[in-house]
């Protein structure tokens, strides 16, 4: 290992963004379902959200002037690390409750792990985020473990 992950970077583990409340809208479910070519009527009518709808629902919305040259908002919960090119890694979901229109969901994103590994072409840093989605009453809806790979 090259010890690319400093103690300062490791101190970010456990940090989280403030919770965000999002209301689930039937027309948003329908738009998502049409664009992803769903076939089940319950999704196309917006009676229930497809499993992956919730993953897209929590994307950050910032003023246009804050978007970068690549079009993306500034990365949150990303410590200063020597590897800068970000690639999508794996995603794992645990579903606890189906999502219906008009529900208000509370999302919270936490940096849960940073690990350095040796790849075929050089060192890699794996950052894992845990995104939880609960109802306003605190009932768990979804847990999403998302890995980003820096190279």
């Amino acid at each position: 290992m090259n010890n690319l992950v400093t103690d300062e970077a490791l101190s970010w583990i456990g940090k989280s963004d403030p919770p965000v409340e999002i209301e689930v809208n039937r027309s948003d479910i329908i738009k998502y379902s049409v664009s992803t070519e769903q076939v089940l009527t319950k999704y196309l009518k917006g009676d229930e959200a497809p499993p992956m709808f919730i993953a897209g629902l929590s994307r950050e919305i910032v003023p246009l002037k804050e978007l970068g040259v690549d079009g993306l908002p500034p990365a949150s919960l990303l410590p200063d690390l020597p590897l800068k090119r970000v690639m999508a890694g794996g995603v794992r979901f645990e579903f606890h409750k189906k999502v219906k229109p008009n529900e208000v969901l509370v999302f919270e994103k936490k940096l849960s792990d940073i690990t350095e590994k040796q790849g075929k072409t050089g060192p890699l840093i794996f950052i894992t985020y845990l995104i939880t989605c609960k109802t306003k009453a605190g009932e768990m809806v979804l847990e999403q473990f998302q890995t980003r790979i820096l190279r």
């Binding site: 992803t36 070519e37 499993p51 794996g90």
Partner: protein, 137 residues
């Protein structure tokens, strides 16, 4: 819809093909509010981020994998766990085929584990995945 009592390990799930277009990618990225230019700005995508073509979103490919499972079980089961990994980029114009097979069936609990894949036209797996569903028995 599938009948739980007829499911066996090794059984293939119905496959499906997806071909993203400029319009479908626009609609998808608008629906999830993803302004990343590699999904709609070809000049930026090829000249700055050095991809050969417009990039098909990784989570969209994840959705196509999840549909193999939810369409197979319908109302007979609920999705408990799902994972995928985007191992190889896919580009506008490619037709991707998703499918899978049953790995394990638990007749007592109704739990079924499946393995999933998304392949490109060369037969390479671009995104492997897996899922666990629980049938109402």
């Amino acid at each position: 819809m599938v009948n739980f009592r007829e499911i066996t390990a090794g059984q293939a799930l119905p496959e499906r093909e997806f071909t993203a277009t400029n319009v479908s990618l626009f609609c998808y990225n608008a629906a999830i509010w993803n302004p990343h230019r590699i999904h709609y700005d070809e000049t930026y995508t090829t000249e700055v981020e050095k991809h050969p073509k417009i990039v098909i979103d990784g989570p969209l490919q994840g959705d196509w994998l999840s549909q193999i499972v939810v369409n197979w079980v319908g109302e007979e089961a609920e999705l408990l766990k799902f994972d995928y990994s985007n191992r190889r980029a896919s580009y506008l114009g490619e037709t991707l085929k998703s499918g899978g097979k049953v790995l394990k069936v638990d007749q007592q609990t109704g739990l079924v584990e499946v393995e999933l894949f998304l392949k490109n036209e060369e037969g390479e797996i671009t995104s492997p995945g897996s899922a666990t569903v629980r049938f109402n028995i």
